[in-house]
Every structure is written in structure tokens, then in C-alpha cells.
């Protein structure tokens, strides 16, 4: 019973394919892919709509105000209204813009985000695009985003756009290194680049309550935190939203976009967020595995989307809590802290492996991480550079 519920979408797909058995041979894989793409787009567009309104409501809650509450019950139809507004807006293209580049940029951004979503296993046997080097594919596609952002900034022929694009590329390039390096320990321990293999490696429970997720190891927990922070930067979310900080440079590389193109950028940003969170779930949070052995009867995709939603909530939470960082702080943090720590985690994972992946390895890798962390925090301590603050007029 639970199995059939678990595999219900797979069965549905096979049922559709069996209906089309009359078609020629070469069409079957194409149809299969199309079904995958359709399902993917459907799910994530829905999620996008839901998140866009939920984010506003949660932020409102955090900031002591109502969120959207006019369209539909509890304002739940707000995304529909937004969508209609976006679609019927005039599409303004600056006269001096590089029209082709300006046009391609949002498409490329969205394409990259959607492609990246393709390699993530959403449930048992539910990977839309299962290839051997899935993680690498994710990052290869993800790195295209930088180019797309640049095209947007350059094609607009606008100083704000260009500045925003430069900022975005700078911080994305900087944080791509820790992002990739923090996946390395997992890849190293699993011995495969395929997300399915990584999820499979996190199967099993100790005492049937402690899941074997990588986040349960010291290096995995640290890597998860680093990965999450890098993900925040990669998706240009607060507190790392300098590329599109409204109070500084209007909307960064999206300044000259309006209407549906702007909506595409907006959507791509959220899709990117989904992709990064999905990868984090896959790499560290055990993918679609349930947290307790007893809860295995609940379908796998439910667990995946539960974890994904939890992460997305943290994204929103962070946005509602933290102020924006400065550009130089972001860069210093990347090169002076994230990168050394990421390298350390590789060593820590190796230590964990060679100590037999048991309790001893757990402790030793914790020691390695703690040592380097303490050393780095001593080295990077900037407090001593400032004089103690004196309050002259506020005694």
C-alpha cells in the first residue's frame, strides 16, 4: 500500500507512456522527457506561487503587519493577481540597449535554474534527469547564471544594471568556490557524483531513530552551514542581496526589465533558491529519507518537500531578520573564512573516513574543525582594530 502510494507518480507516467505505445521508437524517450519537464514545471510553478505569497505573509507576521490578505481567502490568490498584472504590463526596452542580449538574458537565467532543478531526486525513483555526474551538471548549469546576469546588466546599457551585474558576478564567483568545495566531502565519502547515489548512501538508521544523514556528522553539519550560507549568496538573498539592493542601486541588473521579463527574473531567482535548497536536502539532509525508521510508510516525496519547505522557511526567516552586509564584508568572508573552512572540511571528512566512520572519527573530525575554526576566528578577529566606543552625550 505504502509502496504504491510512494510510486504513484512513476506508475502514472508509465501508464501514460503505455497509452502512447503506438508511436515510433524514437518518440518514446522524447515523450517521457516531456512528461518529466511538464511535471517539474507544474510542481515548481505552483510552489513558486505558494512561496511568493507565503513569504510576504510570513514577513508580514515577523514585522508586525498583515501580509497580502485581499485577493481570495487569506489573500491566497494574490499570485494570480500578480501574474496577471505582470503579463499585461508594457514591456519596455531601453532605446540604447543591446536588444538581443537584453532579450536572451532572462530566458537564460530561467533556463539555467530549471535545468538545475532537473537532477535532484525528489523521491524514490523520481529523478527527472538522472545522469552520472549530476552534481557537476548542477554546478555547470548554475555557473551559466553568472553569464546571464552579466548579459542582463550589459544589455540594459544602464549604469545601475552594470553595477548590479558586476556585484552579482563578483559575489557569485567568490561563493561558487565554497559552494562546490563543501559538496566535495560528501562526494568524496560517497564516491559518486550522482545525486541518487548520494541519497542512497544516507539510508539507514542507528537505533532506528538516528538517521545516517551527513548532517549528523561534524564535517557534514559544518559543510551544511557553509553550503547554506553560500546558497544564500548564490541566490542573492538577504543578507547578501547587495546586487539588487533597492536602496542602493534600484534593482541591480533587473532595473531595466519590466513586465513578463521581470517576472521571469523573479521566478528564476526563486527557482534558483529551490534548486540550492533541494541540493542541500539531497547532500546533507538525507534527500527523501524519513527522519525516523518508523515513519518510512509516509511517501518519500513528502519528506523531500517537507525538508525543502523547512529550508525555504529558514530563507524567509533570515530575510526577515538580518540586515544587508557590505560588499567588502561579503568578499572578505568568502576568501578569508569560507574557503579555508571548506578546505578544512575536506580534511575533516578524510579524518572521519580513516577513523572508521564511527564515534572516534566523529570526535576526531570535530577536533579538526574546531581547531581550524578557533584559529581562523582568532586571526580574523577585527574587534581589536577598533577603539572602544565611548558615549559622550548619552550618559
Amino acid at each position: 500500500m505504502s509502496d504504491s502510494l510512494d510510486q504513484i507518480f512513476i506508475s502514472a507516467k508509465h501508464w501514460i507512456l503505455s497509452l502512447l505505445s503506438g508511436l515510433p521508437d524514437w518518440a518514446a524517450p522524447i515523450i517521457s522527457s516531456l512528461i518529466n519537464i511538464g511535471a517539474l514545471l507544474g510542481v515548481f510553478l505552483t510552489l513558486f506561487a505558494a512561496i511568493s505569497v507565503l513569504e510576504r505573509k510570513i514577513l508580514g507576521r515577523m514585522q508586525n503587519r498583515y501580509g497580502p490578505n485581499r485577493v481570495g481567502p487569506f489573500g491566497l490568490f494574490q499570485p494570480v493577481a500578480d501574474g496577471i498584472k505582470m503579463l499585461i504590463k508594457e514591456d519596455v526596452v531601453p532605446a540604447r540597449a543591446d536588444k538581443v542580449v537584453h532579450f536572451i538574458a532572462p530566458i537564460l537565467v530561467a533556463a539555467a535554474a530549471i535545468l538545475a532543478l532537473g537532477v535532484i531526486p525528489y523521491g524514490r525513483n523520481m529523478t527527472p534527469f538522472a545522469i552520472d555526474g549530476g552534481i557537476l551538471f548542477f554546478f555547470a548549469v548554475g555557473s551559466t547564471t553568472e553569464l546571464a546576469v552579466f548579459m542582463a546588466g550589459w544589455g540594459s546599457n544602464n549604469k545601475f544594471s552594470m553595477l548590479g551585474a558586476m556585484r552579482a558576478i563578483a559575489q557569485m564567483v567568490s561563493y561558487e568556490l565554497p559552494l562546490i568545495l563543501t559538496t566535495l566531502p560528501v562526494v568524496m565519502i560517497v564516491g559518486a557524483l550522482s545525486p541518487d547515489a548520494i541519497v542512497a548512501a544516507q539510508d539507514g538508521y542507528s537505533l532506528s531513530v538516528l538517521p545516517h544523514w551527513f548532517v549528523m556528522t561534524p564535517w557534514g553539519a559544518a559543510a551544511f552551514v557553509l553550503f547554506f550560507v553560500s546558497g544564500l549568496v548564490e541566490s542573492n538573498r538577504t543578507p547578501f542581496d547587495v546586487p539588487e539592493g533597492e536602496s542602493e542601486i534600484v534593482a541591480g541588473h533587473m532595473t531595466e526589465y519590466s513586465g513578463f521579463k521581470y517576472a521571469t527574473f523573479f521566478m528564476a531567482e526563486y527557482f534558483g533558491m529551490f534548486a540550492i535548497s533541494g541540493l542541500a536536502v539531497t547532500l546533507f539532509l538525507g534527500g527523501w529519507h524519513s527522519p525516523i525508521a518508523a515513519l518510512n510508510f509516509i511517501p518519500s516525496y513528502f519528506w523531500f518537500f517537507l525538508k525543502l519547505s523547512a529550508l525555504l522557511f529558514v530563507y524567509i526567516w533570515v530575510r526577515g531578520t538580518l540586515p544587508r552586509t557590505r560588499v567588502d564584508q561579503i568578499m572578505n568572508f568568502a576568501w578569508k573564512f569560507m574557503l579555508p573552512m571548506a578546505f578544512t572540511l575536506i580534511v575533516a571528512a578524510a579524518v572521519w573516513h580513516y577513523q572508521g566512520r564511527g564515534l572516534a572519527g566523529w570526535l576526531w573530525s570535530l577536533v579538526v574543525i574546531a581547531l581550524v575554526y578557533l584559529a581562523l576566528s582568532r586571526l580574523l578577529d577585527t574587534r581589536k582594530k577598533f577603539a572602544t566606543r565611548t558615549y559622550r552625550f548619552a550618559e
Partner: protein, 163 residues
């Protein structure tokens, strides 16, 4: 591997490359170069070397293209630098193409179909890199480090003089 895909990829690759070589605006050429690279990566996929294809996209699109674009931005002031095409070079390039094409076509043994092979997994590549090719791997690491430092020094040196 089918010929439709091959044809498509070949057309995209060559078109992108031609655009990269011939477009008057540098930025367009650079973006066309990205298209050509993606095409080459696709043909790697077609040939069964998925890993190399991904690396190709990763390195060229993610890094080299961004670098080129940045360089264009930093050296943008000169707009009227382009003064037509050096036709002598074009003739030489054409001659080389002709010569190579003639040689390839002349060699009959090259017209062989693809044999069946077991798929090349990332694991195999990794094992090869860590066993037989570990020495070249280290050398490449060294070269990359040296290039990184060298590039930094090259760009920084002038800056200090300007101050």
C-alpha cells in the same frame, strides 16, 4: 547517437564559432563563443564523454567566458579599434582548412563507425586520475596555482604604478 542530434550540434557549434570570429562587436563575439563552447560540450555528450562535457561547460562558460567578458569591460574605452578585417589572415585560415579537409577526406581509414563501448563513468575517470595520472594531475594543479598568482601579479603591478 543519432545523426539528427549530430547535425544540430554541428550547426550550432560552427555557427557560434563563426559568429565569435566574425561579429563586429566584441561582446557579441564573446557570447557567441559561449554558444560554440556549449556546442562542443554537447558533442562530447554525444561521444559518450559526459564528464568532459560537463567540465567543458563548467570551465568555459562558468569561468573563461566570464573572464573574457570582464576583460572586455575593463578595456572598453577603445571602441574604434577595429579597422576592418585582415584578409591575408583569412586566406591563410581558409588554406589551412582546405589542406586539412583534403587530408582527412583522402584518408579512407577514418570513415569508421563508432564501436560499442561500456559507458565511461565518473568513477573510472577518477580512478585513472588518482592512479596512472596522479603526477600530471599534480602538475596541472601547480600550473593552475602559478597561473592564478601570475595573473594577479600582472594585473596588480600596473595598478601600483598608477598610484
Amino acid at each position: 547517437m543519432n545523426s539528427v542530434a549530430f547535425l544540430l550540434i554541428a550547426i550550432i557549434t560552427l555557427a557560434g564559432a563563426l559568429a565569435a570570429a566574425a561579429l563586429p562587436r566584441l561582446i557579441h563575439a564573446a557570447l557567441s563563443l559561449v554558444v560554440a563552447f556549449v556546442g562542443v560540450a554537447a558533442s562530447f555528450f554525444l561521444l559518450g564523454a559526459e564528464f568532459v562535457g560537463l567540465v567543458q561547460v563548467f570551465v568555459y562558460v562558468g569561468a573563461v567566458a566570464v573572464l573574457i567578458v570582464f576583460t572586455i569591460l575593463l578595456t572598453r574605452r577603445e571602441v574604434t579599434g577595429e579597422r576592418g578585417i585582415n584578409w591575408g589572415g583569412a586566406i591563410v585560415a581558409l588554406a589551412v582548412f582546405g589542406g586539412l579537409l583534403w587530408t582527412i577526406l583522402k584518408t579512407k581509414s577514418l570513415a569508421l563507425p563508432a564501436p560499442q563501448i561500456e559507458p565511461l563513468t565518473v568513477k573510472r575517470i577518477g580512478e585513472a586520475l588518482m592512479t596512472n595520472y596522479v603526477w600530471p594531475l599534480q602538475c596541472v594543479g601547480l600550473v593552475l596555482t602559478a597561473a592564478l598568482i601570475g595573473a594577479l601579479v600582472l594585473v596588480m603591478e600596473e595598478k601600483r604604478e598608477e598610484k
